[in-house]
């Protein structure tokens, strides 16, 4: 079971109160995680990656195991700790304001 932590506004949009859990068959990558996330929570389509280009929205970042995976190609496998459910994939909104 893959664990994903969403930014607060997306938790509200998806009507979830904490991290979400996803079943993924096959390699665990950014793309497969986001595909599964959007399949389970269609209201999130377009909010994390562009509807058409599938590119990550520029103000969002992907962190896991204290590393930044935002710039990794979408089909690069995520760490084993994420694939095993030991650690979550964190989707983080860029900090703005003062």
């Amino acid at each position: 079971m893959i664990r994903v932590v969403l930014p607060g506004h997306l938790r509200t949009l998806a009507h979830v109160s904490s991290e979400v859990q996803l079943e993924i068959v096959g390699p665990v990558t950014q793309r497969s995680v986001l595909d599964a996330l959007e399949a389970q929570y269609p209201m999130l389509r377009g909010t994390i990656r562009d509807h058409v280009t599938q590119e990550r929205r520029p103000f969002l970042r992907f962190f896991a195991c204290e590393e930044d995976y935002s710039l990794e190609p979408p089909d690069t496998p995520l760490p084993d700790a994420v694939a095993s459910g030991k650690e979550p994939l964190l989707i983080i909104g860029a900090i703005a304001g003062g």
């Binding site: 930014p7 607060g8 506004h9 997306l10 509200t12 949009l13 998806a14 009507h15 979830v16 389970q40 929570y41 269609p42 209201m43 999130l44 389509r45 377009g46 909010t47 994390i48 562009d50 509807h51 058409v52 929205r57 103000f59 969002l60 909104g93 860029a94 703005a96």
Partner: protein, 394 residues
């Protein structure tokens, strides 16, 4: 007894203000979609319980919300059939795609417009500025977006198709963004001619279609803009808002960047009616619901100082269709007021004594139940107001 519902979009959520026909006591619900930019909410006149809302965020993009119960509950219209409930019984929905039409079959796709620096820049979808429900079909709604284009949904907001003839009619490479972005902010559907639509873009100008959106032409003759290389150019004018009284669809009123204008021939030509206004810069303009020659503006000091003159918030009313203006001040701030009133932040109700409403970037919503003679504060401490729309309910 009639009721009034005021839909307020703000930088940090939406608010719904309701009152009976006396319009003296107001209830406020919200924030709906707390923390999100709510650029515009507007109800259908065919089904007043149906309200469309533009919810957006620099982080998460564009979402269309729809209420079918007057704003009590909301759905994302893209909810897949049969999947209304997700895990744990929670509602599911799907965000909405706004994809520019680039097909050779359905339009003349454009790929660039002028950017701030004068270079050509590709069209990039950013947000929906304005939603205009059809006056005849509750499932049809138009969306004006940034970068400027017009979209239409005929299934209640689930799917959107661009009316690409606007972007592709030929002047697009000369359109450029205003300070707020290159937004299509005004959509006026002619209630007497379903094939006629007016739109306005900052900074391109006003445009009209007479064939339901297939072909378009600029309607900017008579506009004079000193801030562009050719002040009387066919396009490039920073039109801030256009308003129309539905009983006279051929008469249009415009608040341009500077200048208040009117057209008596469906936009074919414009004449300036700024008259004795203390400043003719501003954003909003609206028309009395029953007196088509009575119009309202909120003068703003200048394009460099977006606040009222002398710190006094004033509405100006003309009962002569322009040129002769009177100051309306009763109940509005007399001093130290340095807010702005944005282009979609004024609206009128249709009660016998026409109500007029507007919101400010300081988070105040003001209303008048007597066509502007007296004003009261309906809400005082909201986030910056982006839009105000009014529904008059039976």
């Amino acid at each position: 007894m009639s009721r009034v519902r005021v839909l307020v979009g703000t930088r940090k959520g939406a608010f719904i203000l309701t009152s009976d026909g006396k319009r003296q006591k107001w209830d406020i619900s919200g924030p709906h979609f707390a923390g999100w930019e709510m650029y515009h909410l507007k109800g259908s006149t065919v089904d007043p319980n149906r309200i469309f809302a533009s919810q957006c965020s620099g982080w998460f993009g564009q979402i269309i919300q729809r209420s079918d119960d007057g704003g009590k509950t909301w759905i994302q219209p893209g909810t897949p059939p049969g999947e209304e409930k997700g895990p744990g019984g929670m509602p599911k929905g799907e965000s909405n795609k706004f994809v520019y039409d680039t097909s050779a079959e359905t339009g003349k796709p454009l790929t660039t417009h002028q950017f701030y620096d004068g270079n050509q820049h590709p069209w990039e979808f950013k947000r929906v500025w304005h939603l205009e429900p059809s006056p005849t079909d509750p499932d049809t709604v138009y969306a004006g977006v940034e970068d400027a284009a017009l979209f239409r949904s005929t299934d209640g907001g689930k799917n959107w198709q661009e009316l690409s003839g606007l972007r592709g009619h030929g002047t697009g490479p000369r359109w450029q963004p205003g300070a707020g972005g290159m937004c299509l902010h005004t959509i006026i559907l002619d209630p007497h001619d379903p094939k006629r639509i007016y739109i306005a873009i900052s900074a391109a100008g006003a445009f009209r279609t007479d064939d339901g959106g297939t072909t378009w032409k600029p309607i900017n003759k008579g506009l004079y803009s000193q801030y562009i290389p050719e002040p009387t150019a066919e396009v490039g004018h920073c039109v801030h808002h256009v308003a129309m009284n539905t009983s006279r669809p051929g008469v249009l009123f415009m608040q341009k960047h500077w200048d208040v204008m009117r057209s008596d021939n469906s936009g074919d030509s414009w004449t300036e009616v700024s008259g004795n206004l203390p400043t003719d810069f501003g954003f909003v303009i609206d028309v009395h619901a029953h007196e088509p020659e009575t119009i309202y503006v909120v003068p703003i000091k200048s394009d460099g100082e977006h606040f009222p003159l002398d710190g006094k918030l004033r509405v100006y009313r003309s009962k002569t269709g322009g040129n002769e203006w009177e100051e309306l001040a009763k109940g509005l701030p007399e001093r130290d007021c340095y807010v702005n009133v944005l282009r979609d932040a004024m609206s009128v109700d249709t009660l016998d004594k026409c109500g007029v409403y507007f919101g400010t970037t300081g988070g105040q919503v003001y209303g008048s139940a007597d066509a502007g003679d007296n004003w009261m504060t309906l809400a005082q401490h909201l986030p910056a107001v982006l839009s105000v729309e009014v529904q008059t309910l039976p």
